[in-house]
């Protein structure tokens, strides 16, 4: 099993296109960092403009590595799932396209195990992409902008998290993001078994993510109660929940607290269910499929 996994990983990381994702993330992160370094205060003035009449905002202190990382993660919300789809969507369809799928299945490995190894390789790629993103967006931002308390703007409230209370939240958020991106990988992996070239599953995954994200972000009551709770994209945003603190009766943030941990856990269970459904369906369908290429 381990040997097969190594082969799959070798195949993924041998292809130049795999590194497009790493390069794209590096480019996007660096572009945002350079822009914020040059004129981050203007961006903050836009974000915090609503409270500048009441509160003195020390913009230079607010613009620190922790906040820059948060802004980057926010901006890359739609893009990283697309990069994950590049590899996961190619996983089975790529083999079919090259005509190697039938050959692979002649080996004494069950189709279920074959599929699980393929998916595990996609998950490892996704996690590596996320680690790369964490290194650039968090570590590099801290190096460039320093650290301080983090102030994040929400729809109707501004939260301040003390410097000593931030790092564990990022670790939790990245761990959650790994599950969220694995959901996208699972979707692309499922679609990959229906196509004989990788463009179809990649484009389909990207389209689904974009449409669902738009639906998730629209504030229309008819969607809020009916569709939104069932869209995996609505739950992919729950990583942010780790940065929302509880407050006491006097509006004071409680250090080390999470505003609504049960909701985050619920969102995570929804994503895990989707992963199970997508991968399970992919395995069942693949087991029954005639492999002609």
């Amino acid at each position: 099993m381990l040997a097969l996994l190594q082969i799959e990983l070798f195949k993924i990381f041998r292809r130049p296109r795999t590194y497009i994702s790493f390069a794209a993330i590096a480019a996007m992160v660096l572009i945002v960092q350079v822009a914020l370094k040059a004129d981050g205060v203007s961006y903050l003035e836009f974000l915090m403009g609503g409270m500048k009449d009441s509160i003195e905002i020390p913009y230079k202190l607010v613009l620190n590595g922790y906040l820059v990382c948060f802004i980057i993660l926010n901006l890359l919300l739609i893009h990283v799932p697309l990069l994950v789809a590049l590899v996961a969507g190619d996983s089975i369809a790529g083999e079919a396209n090259m005509g190697t799928l039938r050959l692979l299945l002649t080996r004494p490995v069950s189709r279920t195990r074959f599929m699980l190894i393929k998916f595990t390789a996609c998950v490892i790629y996704t996690v590596m992409l996320l680690i790369w993103m964490a290194l650039l967006s968090l570590v590099l931002s801290i190096w460039l902008f320093g650290t301080n308390d983090m102030i994040i703007t929400r729809n109707d409230v501004v939260e301040q998290i003390q410097r000593s209370d931030i790092l564990w939240r990022y670790i939790a958020a990245f761990a959650y993001a790994a599950v969220a991106l694995t959901t996208v990988a699972a979707l692309a992996f499922l679609l990959s078994i229906f196509a004989e070239n990788s463009i179809g599953p990649i484009v389909s995954t990207i389209s689904i993510v974009i449409v669902f994200t738009i639906l998730s972000e629209m504030q229309i009551p008819i969607y809020d109660q009916t569709i939104k709770p069932f869209l995996f994209t609505s739950h992919m945003l729950a990583w942010k929940g780790f940065f929302y603190s509880k407050s006491n009766g006097e509006g004071e943030a409680i250090a080390g607290s999470i505003e609504n941990l049960p909701a985050i856990m619920k969102s995570m269970s929804v994503l895990l269910t989707y992963i199970f459904l997508f991968v399970g369906s992919a395995v069942v369908i693949f087991n029954r499929k005639d492999i002609l290429t």
Binding site: G50, S54, P58, N155, V157, V158, Q160, E217, G251, A253
Partner: protein
């Protein structure tokens, strides 16, 4: 006719005497406040603003007479309300051009106080009216309410203890007006956890913020560098 004239004359005289008393009291209070030319104080700051969720923080407060005040948080960021400079009484009384009007007596926390209104002579200034609640025996301002032209009404309440001799409070509570804060969800990409948030609909508290500083120590009249106010 003579009686009416005498009554009016006596009333005006009484008012003039009371106004002189009020001015004299204000001058005494001012002299006490002015005895502190600068201070550096350690304290704990609590902020309660409807749209802010911030932790309690340890702060250092720097003040130089008459109106320089800086609140610094060496371990992090402090979001300080605009107008917090009113936390220094020196600033409130800095304007020499005001008329002191006696406005009767009141009670604050069971203690009898003299109420004096300060009307600025400059009609175009930011401050429209200040009302001071003065403890005449100790020459301390226990409460000050300031109405401004553009930023609503500020209120400053002070509780004195160890540093009452310098007119410096152990605790200061600053109440101020806030404006509503809202950002489009398309900008913030908030995580919607499905819960509906309770909104304060009480007009008395919905747009009011409160800053509370509990002072733990003062270093008085030892001089301060200009750089601390930058």
């Amino acid at each position: 006719m003579l009686k009416i004239t005498i009554t009016i004359f006596l009333s005006l005289s009484a008012f003039a005497i009371r106004a002189q008393d009020a001015s004299a009291l204000i001058q005494k209070v001012k002299a006490k406040i002015e005895s502190v030319r600068d201070y550096q104080a350690e304290g704990v700051m609590k902020t309660n603003v409807p749209f802010l969720k911030v932790p309690q923080s340890d702060v250092t407060i720097y003040f130089r007479y008459p109106d320089k005040l800086k609140i610094k948080n060496d371990k992090g960021i402090s979001l300080v309300p605009k107008g917090a400079v009113s936390i220094s009484l020196g600033n409130l009384m800095n304007n020499k051009q005001f008329t002191a009007i006696p406005s009767g007596e009141d009670k604050i926390n069971g203690l009898g106080v003299t109420v004096i209104k300060l009307l600025p002579k400059d009609e175009n200034g930011e401050i429209v009216l200040s009302t001071l609640y003065v403890d005449e025996a100790r020459l301390l301002i226990l409460k000050a309410r300031t109405t401004t032209r553009d930023n609503g009404t500020y209120e400053l309440e002070m509780i004195y203890g160890r540093f009452a001799a310098y007119a410096l409070p152990d605790k200061a509570i600053f109440t101020f007006n806030t404006k509503e804060y809202k950002l489009p969800k398309g900008v913030t990409f908030d995580y919607d956890d499905g819960t509906t948030k309770k909104k304060d609909v009480n007009p008395a508290t919905a747009n009011k913020g409160k800053l509370e500083i509990t002072y733990t120590n003062y270093i008085i009249n030892k001089g301060l560098k200009d750089s601390v106010f930058l």
